[in-house]
């Protein structure tokens, strides 16, 4: 009996995997239609030197990491808040 159940479950998983794979193919095809963004120019060497000086005076990597963390948390909260408002846990737009 265990083998039968295992086989049925395997077929379901295979079907889900197939849907996921085809969905990925569809997304890839859609993205291939979109135009590429032009690449940014290479920063001048003088700017690179000054950036090193700034990083010498300030913990730039930490500042950037915290900016990314803060932005990510706000975006995550924005997404979660939609579900919470739908569940009537939150009210209003904030």
């Amino acid at each position: 009996m265990g083998f039968v159940w295992s086989g049925i479950l395997g077929v379901l998983v295979d079907a889900i995997n197939l849907v996921i794979a085809k969905l990925a193919v569809a997304i890839t095809a859609l993205l291939s239609i979109l135009p590429n963004m032009p690449a940014l120019p290479t920063p001048p060497s003088q700017l690179v030197a000054v950036e090193g000086w700034v990083a010498w005076a300030l913990p730039v990597s930490t500042i950037l990491a915290m900016l990314v963390f803060t932005a990510s948390m706000y975006l995550l909260w924005y997404a979660v808040s939609i579900a919470l408002r739908w569940a009537k846990v939150l009210r209003g737009n904030s």
């Binding site: 265990g2 083998f3 295992s6 086989g7 479950l9 395997g10 077929v11 998983v13 295979d14 889900i16 995997n17 996921i20 794979a21 969905l23 990925a24 193919v25 997304i27 890839t28 993205l31 979109l34 135009p35 590429n36 963004m37 690449a39 940014l40 920063p43 700017l47 690179v48 030197a49 950036e51 090193g52 000086w53 700034v54 990083a55 010498w56 005076a57 300030l58 913990p59 730039v60 990597s61 930490t62 500042i63 950037l64 915290m66 900016l67 963390f69 803060t70 948390m73 706000y74 909260w77």
Partner: protein
């Protein structure tokens, strides 16, 4: 806290508006740390050791290495110690480094003090040093040199110190406070004092020396010359009017010090031979005979001072000697301003550290500990450095395993990699190719005799279960008797030599699960139908490459721009080249070049960056938590105090 104590509700106060204007703890942390940084505007220069390091920029690294005994540098395994003929031992390294550090009188280990404790103390001290007394205290703590190198004048009681690395023919090796004059006349301090011939020069209108071709030597007089033809080409005579003054002209630059002097002729950083500075007297030397190229290696007082000189020469506007361009070109540089002692260490401290770390190992190898100390420091600051490549490291023949010292370069051998669980043999072959293996691969079906239900029995078809290199023994990934996964012993795994040259591995055999093998019929109970072992697979979605497409490509821009600023910290360093001020044939300023280098702040700035990072992290996390969770522990400080009572 103010909100809790007061809470009188003065919501319109300036402080309240600031707070409500989102003066977040994050920003406040940066401000506090920045104030601390500005307040501690005193050079934190501290002990360092003159050393035979190869890169002038690495002084701060050397300093930090010596200061932090929790992170003693180590030597790559397999390097041969020329002092013993065998590999360096851990005891050699520990003894050498510890002795050098103790001799240098360096700071105690930062790790032992604790970063948090340092941060708190520094912030507190930052406030205190606003006062004049605080500045004096800070100066006494961090060094006596101040921040302006030009403020330093030579101390006759503490003269520059010379160390000679002579490999052949030098009459004197070791250290001296007056220079050397031996068989090859490397550098000489006291001769030529009164034998100079000034006939080829005339006196200028203001008493200066003027050469036959009209060149004016500022700062020199015939009665007190600084350069004499009779001393030979590229040589220097004495008679400087002040200690530390610079006289440039002809084909050399002259450094005059309290007790010794020599021509900085063809001075450059000789990294290849492991010396800091190399002086080549290509013509008759101070004592009348020439030194052969490569004979003499001089270390002036401390490595950092000489590196500053070299840096100044390199950054000069008129060439310089190889490898920095030019041949016997004049380098009119302000060398004296580079001779700033950066610490209160005595010369004995520095010399002891140098010697303990192998600074006098030029002519012969030192003790195992000395060799180990020097090798460890060099390798720590420059991973590409290998000893034994120059004459200053005589006898330091080093054998590095796996690296060919002659002939065409070849790729390094690698140990056969371990097949991962259920790794398909095609993927494994791709890994071998990526590592550089170019030989043939033979794929063979394995006999699947593993016990039902074991790890080996439930493998997918085509999975790798064994590998063999050449005619060597087969390495099984699963135990033939139990079917259990076998630990891949990387210490005994055979090596694969990539490439097609002599000795290259030409064949690898892979043993795989047969294509028709059914794991479900052998105890496999993993769901997923024919995709046994996988379950729901989100990889196609998670591995999507979104690229930088319109309209969401701005994210790529943001990543690029932030990447620009996420660079390695680098101390501000620039050169100010003052144009010559001449009227007619008289020049009042000539070749003035000033180099600003804040690298002596490196250690201190590293501390400050760490402190600011802690403040920023705590502030950012608190701010996010407070905004998202409604957490407001401190309340509004503006409600507790009236700004009228403050301002």
């Amino acid at each position: 806290v103010a909100g809790r104590l007061g809470g009188s509700g003065r919501g319109s106060s300036t402080l309240s508006r600031l707070y409500r204007g989102r003066l977040s703890p994050c920003v406040a942390g940066v401000l506090v740390a920045g104030i601390g940084w500005l307040a501690l505007g005193v050079a934190p220069a501290k002990a360092f050791v003159g050393d035979p390091m190869t890169l002038p920029e690495n002084q701060s690294l050397i300093q930090s290495v010596l200061q932090d005994i929790d992170n003693l540098p180590t030597i790559p395994g397999g390097w041969t110690n020329p002092a013993t003929g065998s590999a360096y031992t851990a005891a050699d390294e520990l003894t050498g480094m510890t002795t050098a550090e103790m001799a240098a009188g360096s700071l105690p280990a930062l790790g032992a003090l604790g970063t948090v404790a340092i941060g708190g103390a520094t912030l507190y001290t930052s406030y205190k040093v606003f006062s004049p007394l605080g500045k004096i205290i800070a100066r006494s703590i961090f060094g006596d040199a101040g921040v302006n190198p030009s403020n330093y004048s030579f101390d006759a009681a503490n003269p520059p110190f010379w160390t000679s690395y002579c490999t052949t023919g030098c009459g004197n090796t070791g250290s001296s406070s007056s220079g050397f004059c031996g068989a090859s006349n490397c550098v000489q301090a006291t001769a030529c004092t009164s034998t100079c011939n000034t006939a080829s020069f005339t006196t200028g209108s203001n008493g200066q020396i003027v050469s036959a071709n009209g060149t004016v030597f500022t700062g020199c007089t015939l009665a007190n010359p600084c350069w004499e033809a009779s001393c030979g080409a590229n040589t220097v005579c004495v008679g400087c009017t002040a200690q530390g003054e610079i006289h440039a002209g002809g084909s050399f630059s002259t450094v005059c010090t309290g007790t010794s002097r020599f021509a900085l002729d063809e001075v450059y950083d000789d990294s290849a031979s492991g010396s800091i500075i190399k002086v080549l007297n290509t013509g008759p030397g101070l004592c009348g005979s020439a030194a052969a190229a490569g004979d003499c290696f001089l270390l002036l007082r401390t490595a950092k001072q000489m590196r500053s000189v070299i840096s100044s020469i390199k950054d000069g506007a008129s060439g310089g000697s190889a490898p920095y361009g030019g041949t016997n070109a004049v380098k009119n540089v302000d060398v004296s301003s580079k001779f700033n002692p950066p610490s209160t260490l005595t010369q004995t401290d520095v010399t002891n550290a140098e010697q303990q770390c192998g600074a006098t190992l030029g002519a012969s190898t030192g003790t195992a500990a000395q060799e180990a100390c020097r090798a460890a420091l060099n390798y720590s600051v420059d991973p590409t450095w290998t000893p034994g490549s120059g004459s200053s490291s005589a006898g330091a023949t080093v054998t590095i395993p796996g690296v060919s010292t002659g002939g065409a370069s070849t790729a390094l051998p690698f140990q056969i990699p371990e097949p991962t669980a259920s790794e398909a043999y095609l993927d494994y072959i791709a890994r071998l190719r990526a590592l550089g293996y170019l030989g043939s691969v033979t794929v063979t079906d394995a006999g699947m005799g593993y016990p039902s239900g074991s790890a080996g029995a439930v493998l997918n078809p085509k999975s790798v279960i064994g590998v063999k290199v050449g005619s060597g023994s087969r390495i099984d990934v699963y135990n033939a008797g139990t079917g259990a996964r076998v630990a891949f012993d990387t210490t005994t795994a055979p090596a694969v030599t990539p490439g097609t040259g002599t000795g290259a591995t030409t064949s690898v055999t892979i043993y795989k699960v047969p294509d028709a093998y059914d794991p479900l019929a052998n105890g496999g109970t993993v769901p997923g139908g024919t995709g046994a072992g996988g379950g729901i697979n989100f990889t196609p979605l998670t591995s999507l490459s979104l690229g930088c497409k319109f309209p969401y490509g701005f994210v790529c821009y943001a990543e690029d721009v932030t990447g620009w600023f996420n660079t390695t910290p680098r101390a501000p360093n620039w050169t100010i080249d003052v144009p010559d001020l001449c009227m007619g044939s008289t020049c009042y300023t000539s070749g003035l070049v000033y180099t600003v280098d804040l690298s002596f702040f490196d250690t201190y700035m590293s501390w400050m960056r760490d402190i600011m990072a802690v403040a920023i992290i705590v502030g950012a996390v608190y701010t996010v938590a407070a905004r998202l969770l409604g957490f407001d522990a401190a309340g509004d400080p503006g409600e507790a105090m009236d700004e009228a009572s403050i301002f």
